[in-house]
C-alpha cells in the first residue's frame, strides 16, 4: 500500500489550498448521499471533486472505462449541477484503492442509474457552498445570488469566480439539503460532450494494458490446454536456447514462455511442444447431443408459469413452433487480454492492466497467493474494449501466478489466437418456442424452453410478452461443459432477444396481425390487466414502439422490406425497424431506425455512439460470428476465419431518444438485444426465409 498512500499524498499536495469534496460515486443507496470535505486521503469516499484557486476543476473518476463513455458521462452530471464551464473540467483516472474508494467496477449498464443522484448531489453541494461563501463575502442573502459558468453572481452585479472563493468555501460546513437544476436550464446534460480521452487517443498517448511498461518487466505468453485436457509433459529444450528467453515454466496445465521481448517470446513459443492427457474432450457434436437431451428431459427448471399452458395449447386453433440455435462466440475486444503482475519478495504485489473488476482481481490474487488483500495494489489502464470479457480475471491470476513462480515482474500478453482460443465465451444455447393461437389469431398460450451450455438460466422468464399472455410456461435446462463461458455484452438477451423477436414475427404472421399493432395490443393488456407480475413499464414500451413505427415509416416505404423488434433490458427500452433491400439479387440490411428510452440522455454524443455501436455489434455477430469446437479446441482463432463486421457492411442508422426526463438508465447494452430480431425479420420480409440459426451467413 506504500505507493498508494504516496500517490494520494502527491495528489493532496497538488491541491494544497484547494476545495476538495469527497463523495460516493457508486454508493448503493442514492437516497443517502453524503459529502465531506477532505484532504483526499480520508478513508470513506470513492470520488473527489477538487477546485483549485485558479478555478481549475478536477474530478477523480474511480471506475474503469471500457469504451462505454462513463469517464465522460459521470463528470458531465457533476459539472452540470456545479454549474461550471465544461472546458474547465479535467477528469483523471484513479487506481484501485480500497482504502479510499469503496467500489470500482464496470459492467451491467447499471452505473449511471445508480450514480445519478449522488453525482448531482456532489455538484449541487459544492455549488451551494460557493454561493454561501460569496454571500458571506458580499454580506448579502445567499438566495439573492446566482451562478453561471463557474462564477457566483451577486444581486448588485458582484461577480466572483469559484476559484477565488476556494479558501472561504472550504471552511464552510457541508450542507445536507441542496436543490437541483431544472432540466430546462441544463447547459451540458443532453448536449454533445466529446470523450475526455479523445486527445490522448488520437495522438497515440493513451496507455492501454498492452502498453504498460515497468522497470525490469519481462514478457510472457502462455500455451493453454484444450478444454477438458490436462498437461502430460512439455519440451522446451529448444526454446530455452533461444535469444532473449529467460525461462519456460508450467502451472495449472499451462506452459509459460518468459523472455525479454515480445517477438523473442513469440518465436520461442513456436518451438515448444506440449503433450496432453485427453480427458473428456467436447466437440460440436457433443453440444448438439446435450441440446437434444436438454430439450427432451422432464427435469427442466420451471422459471415461470402463468395459467395452464398445456390446456390452452390443446384448445388452440393454430400452433406455431420454432427452434433457435445460439453458437459459442468470442468477445474479441480489439485489445487482446493481457495483465502485468509483480509478486515481490517483501510479500507485496503490484497488478496493472485492463480489468472491468479491479477489486475482484485484487481479492482473487490475494487468495491465490494466500496473502492479505491489503498487500495487493492494482493500477488501472485504459481498456481496448471489454464486452464482458474483462469481467473474468483469469488473465490477472495467470500473471500473478507466473510472477510468483519466476519471482520477477512480468506482463502476460495473449495473442489473438490465445484470446479467441483461450476461453470465456458467450454460452451456447438452444431455444424452443411454442405458441397457441385462438380462432382470431390471438396468442393464448406461450412456451419457451432454453437449454444452455454453462448459461445458468438461459431464459429471461419475465420478458415481454409475458405479462400480456394468459397461459405461459418458461423452463430452463443447464448443461455443464469444460468450455469456459461468461457474460457477453447484454448477457443471454444478446441472442434470446433475437429469438424472441423473430418468433413473435412468426406468431404475428400466423395470426394475420401487424407485428407492431400486435405488440401494442398486448401492452394495452399488460397495462390494464397484467397476467402475473410484470417487470417493465407498458407505457414506456408503447412510446418507443409508436415512435419507431412513425419515424421508420413502418410498412409505407416502397421497395423496402421492414422488420420490427422491441426490447426491454438493463432498464432501458429500444424499438427498432430494420430496412432490407434487394441489392444485386441479394437481401441487404440498408438502414436501421432505433428509438431508445433510457431516461435522461446525459451525453448525446456518447449515447449515439453506444446505440450505433451496439446495433453494429449485434448485427455483425448475428450475421457472421461462430466458434466451432473439435476435441476441446475452438476454431477459428483469428479474424481471417472469425469474421467481424466491417465499415462497408453497415447500414445507416438513425438513433432517436425519447425525451421524458426520467432518471437515466443503462446504454452500453440495451440496443444490442433487439438488433438480431429486427434484421432477421427484415430479411424474412425480403426473402420469405426464416432464420433460425446464427450466424445468418455461413
Amino acid at each position: 500500500m506504500k505507493s498508494t498512500r504516496r500517490s494520494f499524498i502527491q495528489k493532496a499536495a497538488l491541491f494544497s489550498g484547494a476545495f476538495c469534496l469527497g463523495f460516493d460515486w457508486f454508493q448503493a443507496n442514492g437516497k443517502e448521499v453524503s459529502m465531506v470535505q477532505t484532504t483526499m486521503d480520508s478513508g470513506r469516499f470513492n470520488a473527489f471533486l477538487a477546485i483549485d484557486p485558479s478555478g481549475k476543476i478536477i474530478l477523480y473518476s474511480p471506475n474503469p472505462e471500457i469504451g462505454q463513455g462513463i469517464k465522460t458521462a459521470f463528470p458531465v452530471v457533476v459539472a452540470e449541477e456545479l454549474d461550471v464551464d465544461w472546458k474547465d473540467v479535467e477528469v483523471r483516472q484513479a487506481n484501485l484503492d480500497t482504502q479510499n474508494f469503496e467500489r470500482q467496477l464496470t459492467g451491467g449498464s447499471g452505473a449511471l442509474k445508480h450514480s445519478w443522484e449522488r453525482l448531482r448531489k456532489a455538484g449541487a453541494t459544492a455549488r451551494k457552498m460557493f454561493v454561501q461563501a460569496a454571500a458571506q463575502t458580499w454580506n448579502v442573502d445567499a438566495s439573492t445570488c446566482k451562478t453561471s459558468k463557474g462564477f457566483v453572481l451577486g444581486p448588485k452585479g458582484q461577480k466572483a469566480s469559484y476559484g477565488s472563493l476556494v479558501a472561504i468555501a472550504s471552511k464552510l460546513p457541508v450542507p445536507t439539503e441542496v436543490t437541483y437544476k431544472n432540466r430546462k436550464d441544463y447547459q451540458i446534460i443532453g448536449k454533445r460532450t466529446k470523450g475526455v480521452d479523445n486527445k490522448n487517443v488520437v495522438t497515440g498517448k493513451s496507455v492501454f494494458g498492452l502498453d504498460i511498461d515497468k522497470p525490469g518487466m519481462l514478457i510472457a505468453q502462455i500455451i493453454r490446454p484444450p478444454f477438458g485436457a490436462t498437461l502430460k509433459s512439455f519440451d522446451a529444450a529448444d526454446a530455452l536456447k533461444m535469444p532473449g528467453i529467460i525461462d519456460v515454466v508450467s502451472f495449472k496445465n499451462k506452459v509459460a514462455i518468459v523472455g525479454k521481448s515480445t517477438w523473442e517470446v513469440m518465436k520461442a513459443r513456436g518451438t515448444v511442444s506440449c503433450k496432453y492427457n485427453p480427458g473428456d474432450l467436447e466437440s460440436d457434436s457433443t453440444h448438439q447431443k446435450w441440446f437434444d437431451e436438454g430439450m427432451k428431459t422432464d427435469k427442466a427448471t420451471v422459471q415461470r408459469k402463468d395459467g395452464d399452458f398445456a390446456a390452452a395449447l390443446a384448445r388452440s386453433a393454430k400452433v406455431v413452433e420454432a427452434t433457435y440455435e445460439c453458437p459459442f462466440i468470442s468477445h474479441s475486444p480489439m485489445e487482446p487480454m493481457n495483465f502485468f503482475a509483480d509478486v515481490r519478495a517483501d510479500g507485496t504485489v503490484l497488478l496493472a492492466g485492463p480489468t472491468q473488476v479491479p477489486q475482484s482481481a485484487q481479492k482473487a490474487v490475494a487468495s491465490l497467493l494466500k496473502i492479505d488483500e491489503k498487500k495487493v495494489e492494482v493500477e488501472l489502464s485504459k481498456m481496448g474494449g471489454g464486452f464482458g470479457r474483462r469481467l473474468n480475471n483469469d488473465f490477472a491470476l495467470d500473471a500473478a501466478e507466473l510472477s510468483s513462480i519466476i519471482k520477477k515482474p512480468v506482463k502476460v500478453m495473449w495473442t489473438r489466437e490465445d484470446d479467441m482460443g483461450g476461453g470465456i465465451y458467450r454460452p451456447a444455447a438452444r431455444y424452443h418456442f411454442k405458441a397457441g393461437l385462438d380462432a382470431s389469431g390471438n396468442m393464448i398460450a406461450f412456451y419457451l424452453r432454453g437449454v444452455g451450455i454453462n448459461a445458468g438460466n438461459a431464459t429471461r422468464q419475465d420478458n415481454f410478452p409475458v405479462g400480456a399472455i394468459e397461459n405461459v410456461l418458461v423452463e430452463s435446462v443447464n448443461q455443464v461443459s469444460a468450455v469456459s463461458t461468461g457474460p457477453w455484452r447484454a448477457p443471454i438477451t444478446n441472442f434470446l432477444g433475437y429469438a424472441e423477436q423473430a418468433f413473435l414475427d412468426e406468431v404475428a404472421e400466423a395470426g394475420g396481425k401487424d407485428p407492431v399493432q400486435m405488440r401494442l395490443d398486448w401492452l394495452a393488456r399488460a397495462k390494464s390487466n397484467p397476467v402475473g407480475k410484470i417487470t417493465y413499464e407498458p407505457d414506456r414500451f408503447i412510446e418507443v414502439i409508436k415512435q419507431a413505427a412513425e419515424k421508420s415509416n413502418w410498412k409505407k416505404k416502397l421497395g423496402v422490406h421492414q422488420g420490427f423488434s422491441v426490447y426491454f433490458s438493463h432498464l432501458s427500452y429500444v424499438a427498432q425497424v430494420a430496412d432490407a433491400r434487394i441489392v444485386d439479387g441479394k437481401a441487404k440490411i440498408t438502414h436501421v431506425t432505433a428509438v431508445t428510452d433510457c431516461g435522461e440522455v446525459v451525453n448525446l454524443s456518447g449515447a449515439e455512439n453506444q446505440i450505433k455501436g451496439a446495433i453494429i455489434d449485434g448485427m455483425g455477430h448475428a450475421m457472421f460470428a461462430k466458434l466451432r469446437f473439435n476435441e476441446g479446441v475452438a476454431s477459428p482463432t483469428n479474424f481471417n476465419g472469425y469474421r467481424l463486421i466491417k465499415g462497408n457492411e453497415i447500414p445507416t442508422i438513425n438513433a432517436y431518444f425519447v425525451d421524458n426526463g426520467i432518471e437515466p438508465t443503462g446504454l452500453g447494452e440495451p440496443a444490442l438485444p433487439p438488433t438480431g430480431g429486427s434484421i432477421a425479420n427484415a430479411l424474412y420480409a425480403a426473402t420469405k426465409k426464416r432464420l433460425y440459426k446464427q450466424p445468418f451467413e455461413v
Binding site: V202, T203, S206, W263, G385, G386, K646
Partner: protein, 164 residues
Amino acid sequence: MSIQLTVNKKKMSLDIDPNTPLLWALRDHMSLKGTKFGCGIAQCGACTVWVNGEATRSCVLPISAVANADITTIEGLSDHGDHPVQVAWDELDVPQCGYCQAGQIMTAASLLKKKPNPSKTEIVDGMSGNICRCGTYHRIQEAVKLASELASKKKTKSTVKKSA
C-alpha cells in the same frame, strides 16, 4: 548487423533479430506504443503505420524489409496532435474504447494524401480494411470527410497568406 531506419523524422539504429516485425520493434525497442497489436496477421489494421508514406501493416513486416525506410507512426503524424484527421476525430467524437483508432487515423491520413477530396464510396472502401470492434464506423467515415474539408480550408488559408 544493425538496421538503420528513420522513425518520425529521427534516425534509429536497431540491433535486433532482422525478422522482428516492425510493430514489435516500434513497441518493444523504440518505446513507441501508440501503434497497436490486434491480430498479428494483417487482418485488422490496428498496427497501421506509414512506410515511405504508404499505409502499411506493421505486424507482418520484418524490420529487415524496412532498412533505410522512412517510418511515420501515430506519434509522428503531427507535432501538436493537430493533423486535420486528428482534429476531425476529436471533433466528431469518434473513439469509443480507442484501441483501433491509431490504425484508423493512419489509414485515413494516407487516404487523404492520395485523394484529398474522396467520394463517399472512396471513403467507405478506403477505410473498410480496418476493424473497429466498438463499431465506430459511421463516425470514422464522417470524420474522414470532415478532415478533407478541414485540410482544404487550411490549404486555401495558407495560399491566401502566401499570395498576400
